[in-house]
């Protein structure tokens, strides 16, 4: 293999460089605004948690997190629920038009959200869904359902078909078999899928911002509003940024072995 010492050095250098911008934001979130603007310090000299306190006490900030959480959770549950039977169908059966359908799902994951922007705006205004959590959850299903189907199909194909057949011989009906036997067997697959649905819905801004105004405004939109305002409150902005990273950073350990599979839509 490559010389151990060189490769370790390279890897560590890459990791340090890639963590530096994140550290800088964390560093900034723990400083007062005077220190941020006044001096360039590599670590906070006057450690303060005031920025975080602002976010947790000001409704216009923390409601953004709550809104984001609500639509992300809704999206996650709905996406996985509809994707489960479909993924089973794709992994077990051939049927008329299956390949075309599978391809069509992929195109939805790949379509730029900007393309859907205009019609979504019109459609949701017409049916009266604008500025609700449901609107964003539904809109995010465009790219999350295909992703969920693809990942789940990858996991389900790993389970031998004999298991299904044995269960049917033992007298299980399909729904009972699916819930009692099959779902427990792909628990980890469901977990990984849920994580990726959570993540892609959590990081998306364009659709979430366009479909909401007040009641369901996501944290991402709250942050951009602050960016454009005059008299920037850098500390609070940095603190808000750090808080958006926390959920993903906490769960990533559990999916570390499947993360490549998830990003490649179940195909690695």
């Amino acid at each position: 293999m490559m010389d151990k010492r060189i490769s370790t050095t390279l890897l560590v250098a890459f990791l340090l460089l890639s963590l530096l911008p994140i550290y800088w934001m964390l560093n900034m979130s723990l400083k007062t605004n005077e220190e941020i603007v006044g001096t360039l310090s590599l670590w906070p000299h006057h450690l303060t948690f005031a920025n975080y306190k602002t976010i947790f006490t000001d409704p216009s900030w923390y409601s953004g997190y709550i809104n984001s959480m609500i639509y992300v959770a809704m999206n996650m549950v709905m996406s996985v629920a509809v994707a489960l039977p479909a993924a089973y169908a794709f992994s077990r059966y051939n049927f008329l038009g299956d390949k075309h359908l599978f391809f069509w799902l992929l195109t939805n994951r790949m379509t730029p959200p900007a393309v859907f922007l205009l019609p979504f705006f019109q459609l949701y205004s017409t049916v009266g869904l604008m500025d609700t959590h449901l609107a964003v959850a539904l809109a995010h299903m465009v790219f999350n359902v295909p992703l969920a189907v693809w990942i789940l199909e990858g996991f389900m194909s790993g389970i031998p078909k004999e298991i299904d057949e044995t269960a049917y011989i033992d007298g299980y009906t399909f729904p009972r078999f699916f819930v009692k036997i099959f779902l427990p067997m792909i628990k980890s697959g469901i977990g990984v899928t849920a994580f990726f649905c959570f993540m892609f819905s959590w990081v998306e801004l364009l659709l979430a911002r366009t479909l909401t105004s007040v009641n369901a405004k996501p944290i991402a939109a709250t942050m951009t509003r602050t960016v454009s305002a005059a008299g920037m409150d850098w500390g609070v902005l940095a603190a808000a940024g750090v808080l958006t990273i926390v959920p993903g950073a906490l769960v990533i350990w559990f999916v570390r072995h499947y993360i490549a599979k998830g990003f490649a839509m179940g195909r690695v």
């Binding site: 490559m2 490769s7 370790t8 890897l11 890459f14 990791l15 890639s18 963590l19 530096l20 911008p21 994140i22 800088w24 360039l40 590599l42 709905m78 629920a81 509809v82 994707a83 039977p85 479909a86 169908a89 794709f90 059966y93 051939n94 049927f95 391809f103 799902l105 992929l106 195109t107 790949m110 379509t111 730029p112 959200p113 900007a114 205009l118 019609p119 979504f120 019109q122 299903m141 465009v142 359902v145 990858g154 194909s157 993540m199 990081v203 801004l205 364009l206 991402a220 942050m223 960016v227 850098w234 940095a238 990273i245 993903g248 950073a249 570390r256 993360i259 490549a260 490649a264 690695v268």
Partner: protein
Amino acid sequence: MKTYNNRAWFLVLPVLLCVAFSAILPLMTVVNYSVQDILSPTQSVFVGTEWFKTVLRDADLHGALARQLIFSLAVLAVQIPLGILIALCMPASGWRASLALVLISLPLLIPWNVVGTIWQIFGRGDIGLMGYTLNSLGMDYNYNGNSIDAWMTVLVMDIWHWTPLVVLLCYAGLRAIPDAYYQAARIDGASRFAVFRFIQLPKMRNVLMIAVLLRFMDSFMIYTEPFVLTGGGPGNATTFLSQYLTQKAVGQFDLGPASAFSLIYFLIILLFCFVLYTWMQRVGTGDAK
């Protein structure tokens, strides 16, 4: 072997309905708008391919498309080799490998607007580490005023953000190579480069293809990060296709041209999708060498 059973359609039905509501319906609306001139909610005129002609002749669009292509190619040119290199440096197993995996993936999990915010903070000349360092090294760096600086910042940001994806995919590909290959190479006395060139690279071909296509398409729809960082500026320097479309659709509310443009954009993506799909199927069934 899979059995042929058309009743499987019932299992697919929920997905079909969901995605039909959120994809087919909107897409049909776009088609509808793209061939009509909407004068008022009750009055519209059929204009045929007029909007498509307008859009195709639009000089701003040509600019955005050119920038988009250069950007996507630059992204690939840097991220793919860098990703392969880092993947080769990763430890094979143990807690070190797990830790490196988690730390490397971290940028992928950050909300896209926060990615913009991070670099906005990091690159500023007065309060950002990178901007401050570059300026004190004697470079006149300012991503808000200078187009080249803005461009480089967006590019570096994307490399920082998405190279981890290439690393992860290559790492997964490398782990799939059986140990016997390396043993055979050792017996033959193959050099480090020969091992890479004749064992690792061919074995990574499929995941690399997925990585290239995913990176190409995702960079092709980049919106949020430059929106937060530069807002498409200075001037038009970092206005990519999605930015341009959003400006047209939401900013100016030009329904006709925006819809025609959406469709063209969609067709380009569809083409690349087909290539990606074919490759993913090959990886999935494992019949590729």
